[in-house]
């Protein structure tokens, strides 16, 4: 019981990180119908930007951890947003209106470019980082002295993610920009007929997705304490699985899918085998695609015409 509770806590934390990345996949898919395979690597870049920022801030003598984290969050998100904007501009926009596979191939190329860029500029070795928020809270002790730990780090990850997702939800549902994004998602041509600058809206979608991925990168760095240039691949594919599981195109679905993948992976590792945790996650992807092609909250697009 205690063991399961601990796994639940770990799974939810991991799921939040996947969910943040998955939102970026689902948004871009919703608006231009392409899978942005470079998105996982933007997450990786975000983790590196966070590490660089934290190291630089400590070198500058900023010793307050909350302040350093706040600055890092903003800095990493802003620069990652710039990456997102540039990627769309350079690799996808010129191919819009081309055959469907073209941007997909371009996205894979962009993913390789980002990985190699970080590998060359930051080195191939894994970068460790000491725990910034140590300690935690012992919830209960189970039989055999197993202590259920809720670390401050986990609380920080979950709370930050929830706050960011709440802000993001507000943006999408309540603001003119959010409405414009949804209009573009539902009917790009009609959106332009209403005076919406669709190219700009698409750019902003990439920027926002990249910013969320950078937040996930920071969370990942803090939670695991070690990153390398290849983390974007596995995390990206998992987050993509989360987006598909939740129903690609659905924002709540992406978060729900992220949680599901996080929990499946954690419980599988805890009760079966750590080695096969990725197999478990990807088997879910296969099963979902076979039996529920539209995902948990996806829509079958039955509309009156």
């Amino acid at each position: 019981m205690a063991y399961a509770l601990q796994q639940l806590i770990n799974g939810v934390t991991l799921g939040m990180i996947y969910g943040l990345i998955a939102v970026g996949y689902t948004m871009v898919y919703g608006i231009i119908g392409m899978i942005n395979f470079a998105h996982g690597d933007v997450f990786m870049v975000g983790a590196f930007l966070s590490l660089i920022s934290l190291v630089a801030l400590s070198a500058l003598g900023i010793s307050s951890v909350p302040l350093a984290l706040a600055i890092t969050l903003i800095l990493a998100a802003a620069i990652a947003g710039l990456y997102g904007w540039t990627i769309e501009r350079v690799a996808y926009r010129p191919l819009r209106g081309s055959f469907r596979l073209a941007p997909l191939i371009s996205a894979i190329g962009m993913s390789i470019v980002l990985q190699n860029f970080v590998q060359v500029s930051q080195g191939a070795r894994a970068k460790p980082m000491p725990a910034l928020i140590p300690g935690g809270w012992t919830l209960m002790r189970g039989e055999g002295g197993f202590a259920v730990q809720l670390s401050w780090m986990q609380i920080a990850v979950v709370v930050t993610t929830l706050v960011i997702l709440a802000g993001f939800t507000w943006l999408v549902t309540r603001t003119p920009l959010g409405r414009a994004m949804r209009a573009c998602e539902q009917d790009l041509k009609m959106a332009s007929l209403l005076g919406i600058a669709t190219d700009r809206t698409i750019s902003l979608t990439f920027v926002i997705g990249a910013m969320l991925a950078a937040v996930a990168g920071l969370m990942f760095l803090l939670y695991y304490g070690v990153i390398d240039f290849f983390i974007g691949f596995i995390a990206g594919v998992k987050a993509f699985t989360a987006a598909v599981l939740g129903g690609v195109g659905s924002l709540p679905g992406a978060v729900l899918g992220g949680l599901a993948i996080g929990l499946i992976e954690t419980f599988w590792s805890a009760y079966f085998s750590v080695q096969y945790k990725d197999v478990a996650a990807f088997s879910i992807l296969v099963l979902v695609l076979i039996f529920m092609p539209t995902g948990l909250l996806g829509r079958a697009d039955v509309e009156k015409v």
Binding site: R179, A183, K189, A191, S192, L193, L194, G195, K304
Partner: protein
């Protein structure tokens, strides 16, 4: 009278297929002009070409004295032109209220609310359905919503593409009388594309006939209604 919109020798292509073959057309301020023609004649293409998608390959599209044919669509639409397009294109997963708000994109919330009251006065059904999702409306309601959404930008020129398509005769009459009221009370200029030629010509001040991407006839509504070739081709069921 000066033309609010004039097309001069406008051509447009879909890939290699020429959809418009040098169209000349004028719409004067305060007029209702209708464009009639058979399926595939290029009526909807003409409406979309005015909005820059597809772009006119040759010719000029003058609106309010300026050539708009090279502008991107969203900038054309910000010049107080609005279109209720073919197929209505309601945002299916937005509420009626949000669909209307989208029509007022770029205008202040207060202005939008004010215009929305006018739209609700014109189509009371939209007020009843305000919280319902666009995709769940009936065809007639979607048409009202599409027109309402177009009006939300307070256009000078309203492009209406087949507002009667697939609707019950009673609903068509409702929609046509709404267009007439708008034109009379606010001086709204309307370019109306219709297959329902009889009603359209009765409503419009002037009409054009589009055949295979070219204008073959033009005249006042009653004038066109009286012509035998129009009667044969568009009014008595023969195509």
């Amino acid at each position: 009278m000066t033309a609010l919109l004039s097309l001069r020798g406008v051509t447009a292509f879909y890939g290699a297929i020429q959809a418009l073959k040098g169209v000349d057309l004028d719409v004067n301020e305060g007029e209702i002009v209708t464009l009639i023609g058979a399926n595939g004649a290029g009526k909807s293409t003409l409406m979309m070409t005015i909005c820059g998608n597809p772009r006119a390959r040759d010719g000029q599209i003058l609106y309010d004295g300026a050539d708009i044919s090279a502008l991107p669509t969203h900038l054309i639409m910000r010049r107080a032109i609005a279109q209720s397009p073919e197929g209505r294109r309601i945002f299916p997963r937005m509420s009626v209220y949000e669909n209307l708000l989208m029509g007022a994109h770029g205008r202040s919330a207060a202005e939008a609310e004010e215009t929305m009251e006018q739209v609700f006065a014109l189509f009371p059904r939209m007020k009843e359905r305000a919280t319902q999702r666009g995709g769940t409306l009936s065809g007639g309601e979607q048409q009202m919503l599409a027109i309402g959404r177009a009006l939300m930008s307070r256009p000078r020129l309203l492009l209406l593409d087949e507002p009667s398509l697939g609707l019950a005769p009673l609903v068509v009459r409702q929609i046509f009388s709404a267009i007439r009221d708008l034109n009379r009370s606010t001086g709204l200029t309307v370019l109306l594309v219709e297959q329902n030629a009889f009603q359209a010509l009765r409503l419009a001040h002037r009409g054009y006939v589009l055949v295979n991407g070219a204008i073959t006839m033009a005249g006042t509504g009653p004038d066109l209604l009286a012509r035998p070739e129009i009667r044969a081709a568009y009014l008595e069921g023969g195509h």
